[in-house]
């Protein structure tokens, strides 16, 4: 079955913060070139799971392997391989669009000859070229997110990790944002993205539903939807089913 090459391996990963278990025993294998969507309730542990992939926190137990490298012991090499956009992606508001992008190119050592081409390509993708001299703080919400995406794409990572990148973004900008993602996928990039928008979930090649620190379901959007009218109905049904079981457990014990 797994003819494609697996590029992200999450093996029995748990994350505990004091008494709280944010991620519990999650195992995933993601093939190269997929868009992998992560949906679920607030506080389900989506961000925490993404942060372990982005090397931002080490898992309490289990392993995360990104492109064959261990996310904890080979952190610096993994960082070169991935582009990560956290939920509240911080750009420098007082720096212009160009300067923000240049900072990322500096850090990743993009050679001088390449720089103009990359700038053209990624600011062009996100329709930001006309705003290159505008401070990032003066961009609208949708443009900020597209600039963030341009910044994490500029070193052409093999894996993109995006944590709710389209939150508070209007439908037009959201559409443009996803067109870039689909274009990147066609070029062979692997994308892991969490979202609260289930219409975006439909665009993913594979979808995982997360609730109470665990993965409840994992498959193509059609498999997740199964007999329900919409992804939302399917998701809410699965979550309420789990919560019901939880409630019964609590009553019984």
């Amino acid at each position: 079955m797994n003819k494609e090459k697996v590029i992200i391996e999450v093996e029995n990963v748990s994350c505990r913060f004091g008494p709280v278990t944010a991620v519990e025993d999650v195992t995933l294998a993601i093939e190269e070139g997929t868009i992998f969507g992560l949906v679920g309730s607030d506080g389900a542990g989506k961000s925490t799971l993404l942060r372990t992939m982005a090397t931002m926190i080490p898992p309490s137990s289990g392993r995360v392997i990104m492109g064959g490298l261990d996310a904890v012991t080979q952190r610096r090499q993994v960082k070169r391989l991935i582009g990560y956009m956290p939920q509240r992606f911080g750009l420098y508001p007082d720096l212009t669009v160009d300067e923000n992008l240049a900072f990322f190119m500096d850090i990743f050592g993009i050679p001088r000859a390449e720089r103009a081409k990359r700038r053209e390509r990624y600011l062009g993708f996100s329709n930001l070229l006309p705003f290159a001299d505008r401070p990032a703080g003066k961009l609208s919400g949708g443009m900020k997110q597209k600039l963030g995406l341009a910044c994490v794409l500029v070193h052409e990572p093999r894996i993109l990790v995006l944590d709710e990148p389209t939150n508070g973004v209007d439908p037009v900008s959201r559409e443009e944002f996803w067109e870039i993602l689909l274009e990147m996928k066609r070029s062979g990039m692997t994308i892991v993205v969490s979202t609260a928008y289930l219409d975006e979930g439909e665009k993913c090649g594979r979808l995982a539903l997360m609730h109470r620190a665990r993965i409840l379901a994992d498959g193509s959007p059609d498999e997740i939807r199964s007999s329900f009218a919409s992804l939302e109905d399917a998701m809410i049904h699965r979550i309420e089913e789990t919560d019901g079981a939880h409630a019964r457990d609590n009553v019984n014990s």
């Binding site: 506080g43 505008r134 919400g141 508070g168 809410i236």
Partner: protein, 258 residues
């Protein structure tokens, strides 16, 4: 007191305009809202949605044009408007270092609810928001969905006739959103008018009527079905999302830098 309470329209604005310097955020907008309606106000980031809401709520004064909200004039009676309406912003204007009960008491004071009714209203709000168990925890410790319910309960403490919701479900998961809309539909059945902005087109389907705005101007008005039919004629499978993208990209978005 409101001048007229018998008209079916609770909001009516005519040629409402707001300029900041030489930038026109809202450009001569006219519409009206009936009592008990769920009214959706949609548009891309920076289209002038928040500016319009802020004018209707008496927070900022229009540059020109006229309007009435709950019988009060938006230019001359902004203080009365603030006492009459409920307003909840996307930032859930709560004090994160206060408990839910303390937040509720703060808003009871702000809305001049008589003190004899504070206990009853506090109990009502905690019940509505399903926060009795955490009423003495700090608000910042609550999940976003719970904070949203608290913010909504606070906006309803003084039984407003009209509720303004500015992106109330931003960053909230689908389940919480579904519960939220069930609650809003319940309010509307009780006769409360709801004015709401959102980026979620599936949510906008809950609205009786929608106005779409782009670059400060109204580009479409009507029920969700009417808007889809008008923007995407002859496309049976078109959704509100398709209509939105069609309408917003039609007004060619050429903006120079600066």
């Amino acid at each position: 007191m409101p001048v007229t309470t018998s008209t079916p329209e609770i909001v009516s604005v005519k040629d409402l305009e707001k300029r900041f310097g030489d930038f026109t955020a809202v450009d001569r907008v006219s519409f009206s809202i009936d009592r008990g309606e769920i009214f959706g106000f949609l548009g891309p980031n920076g289209a002038g949605k928040s500016t319009t809401i802020r004018m209707l709520c008496g927070i900022i004064t229009p540059s020109s044009g006229s309007g009435q909200v709950a019988g009060y004039d938006v230019v001359r009676q902004s203080e009365s408007i603030k006492q009459t309406i409920g307003y909840m912003s996307q930032k859930f204007s709560l004090y994160e270092d206060l408990t839910p009960v303390e937040n509720i008491r703060f808003y009871l004071g702000i809305y001049s609810v008589p003190e004899s009714r504070w206990d009853e209203r506090t109990g009502w709000a905690l019940g509505q928001a399903r926060l009795e168990e955490v009423k003495d925890r700090l608000t910042r410790e609550l999940p976003p969905g719970w904070r949203q319910r608290l913010a909504l309960a606070c906006a309803l403490l003084h039984r407003p006739e009209i509720l303004f919701l500015d992106e109330p479900t931003s960053g909230v998961d689908p389940i919480t959103r579904r519960h939220f809309w069930e609650f809003i539909r319940g309010l509307a059945r009780e006769g409360v008018t709801v004015f709401v902005t959102t980026h979620y087109m599936d949510e906008a389907l809950n609205c009786d009527r929608i106005v779409m705005i782009n670059e400060g101007r109204i580009v479409a008005m009507g029920s969700p079905g009417e808007i889809v039919a008008e923007a995407c004629p002859g496309e049976a499978k078109a959704t509100l999302n398709d209509a939105f993208i069609r309408l917003m990209t039609r007004t060619e978005r050429v903006q120079g830098p600066g």
